[in-house]
Symmetry: C2
Subunit: 258 residues, 2 copies
DNA sequence: ATCAGTTTGAGTCAAATTGACTATAACTAA
DNA sequence: TTAGTTATAGTCAATTTGACTCAAACTGAT
């Protein structure tokens, strides 16, 4: 599927974000750092659509947690935690996501394993990062507190560790996957209008799309099923409701269980 | 870019390969296994084109190493090893590849982090797997020995651990990336003919492609540069040589160094 | 009840792309 | 010199795309 825009220019490849990060050093010296085994952590980039404060149109948001200890104490960071022994990588991501934000994602996929040597000033840590999509009904129920808050994906400040770069990469992957095909529907509920699908594309790609051409292209994909129902209660002509019948891709780490 | 075939059907999504694997148990019990920290390993799937023994046409091959200790002693496995402390993930993959096969890849990208709980019968091990492409000149120099051998990618036996599934996934990613755009050239040298590019596509996708239409599509991509030179010494009309001018994608774990 | 305003949804049309195919050029081997 | 083979250009109908028009269906204000 090819979706064309008629608005602002698109960001193509991964954005090489150069940021200045203040490094808080601790008492750990280089020798200690090199002898300790690299620790394994799981983090998650969670995307949801929420109405923009200004325009009211749906935009991309993600929840972050405030760090309550060094390093980077006080800064915002991706939700994450260590890998425990009785769970698979994906289960760990899923559990962590639930523990920190109360969210249950409708889509969860591995993003990348980040293992650069100076990601954390105190020790070598390898993070296996997942990315998730949650539906708006879910997202509205998410716990928010002093230490958990939603941010617009295009208005994050300086995050802890290399998390700005991770979010940039996750955004690139999201846009890629969207252009590729069947990911947009995981932002929506079971039933949706074609205009809602278009709003997902417009929010993620940050462009305006021609409604008529967009609907023609979406309707030509076999994974979209027309229901007999209409969305009532709107201000204008009631739009028909559709359903997504495709299956999300398998986790290559879990092939034997399928 | 869209490349159409006129031959055998294509494999679309990841192949869910179910295989029976004999598990060699050791003296380590469940308690020991759960208390030990998950160990981190790096493995690599290395692809190269080599002439088929039967037809002589280029086909996909990959080098495997024989396991010399339990578990899976005697079986073939992907080259790999532990992650040492002074190197990034990609450096570890690159070094490991050189150590075990003597190869220097022209392309190296992270494939996936595999961390299922029962991948190894003795301990929990998380493998960060890379995939690499090497040029035929390089591949010809690769060390081969009793314990390192090249196999046709479509004729592997039963491999150690979950390595059959990993190779299947790597193949899927390779075919995907090929259809997407600018990966084929890393199988070739600096100069190449359009027929050689077509042979790469035919070998990887396992189809026959129309030479005329293929050349039209390849020539329409901006990353291909026509050189003034021709490949001499062939049996027929000397084909023009081309050059690839695109850059491979950045490693998201190394953005700050670019 | 009627009309203005807005969104849904179908359709038109020229331009661009694709897939199947033909034809000629340029070389080698016999 | 000729037959065989590959390289390369080009033709043409079918399909897809991008820009656009227009009727249908609803709400809210007059």
């Amino acid at each position: 599927m090819t979706i064309t825009n008629r608005g602002r220019p698109q960001t193509g490849r991964p954005i090489a974000a150069k940021r200045v990060i203040t490094v808080y050093t601790t008492s750990a010296n280089v020798a200690e750092r090199q002898s300790a085994p690299p620790s394994l952590a799981i983090s998650t980039v969670i995307f949801a659509l929420r109405p923009s404060e200004s325009s009211g149109r749906p935009t991309l948001w993600l929840p972050l947690v405030r760090r309550i200890r060094e390093p980077f104490k006080g800064l915002w960071a991706l939700p994450g935690g260590p890998l425990t022994h009785a769970e698979s990588l994906q289960d760990a991501a899923s559990r962590n996501l639930r523990d920190t934000t109360g969210l249950a994602p409708s889509y969860l996929e591995q993003l990348y394993a980040f293992g650069g040597m100076h990601r954390s000033p105190t020790q070598r840590v390898v993070s296996i990062v997942y990315w998730a999509l949650v539906q708006p009904t879910e997202a509205a129920l998410a716990d928010e507190s002093e230490n958990v808050r939603w941010f617009r994906a295009d208005k994050l400040g300086s995050l802890a560790f290399d998390h700005n770069g991770i979010v940039d990469y996750a955004l690139w992957r999201l846009r890629n996957k969207l252009a590729y095909g069947s990911i947009a529907y995981h932002f929506l509920g079971e039933y949706f209008t074609l205009a809602q699908v278009r709003e997902v594309y417009e929010a993620v790609l940050d462009t305006q799309l021609d409604p008529a051409n967009f609907r023609r292209q979406i309707k030509s994909t076999p994974e979209i099923e027309e229901t007999g129902e209409y969305l009532q209660g709107g201000k204008h002509r009631p739009p028909r409701l559709y359903r997504f019948t495709g299956r999300p891709g398998l986790d290559p780490d879990n092939r034997s269980t399928s």
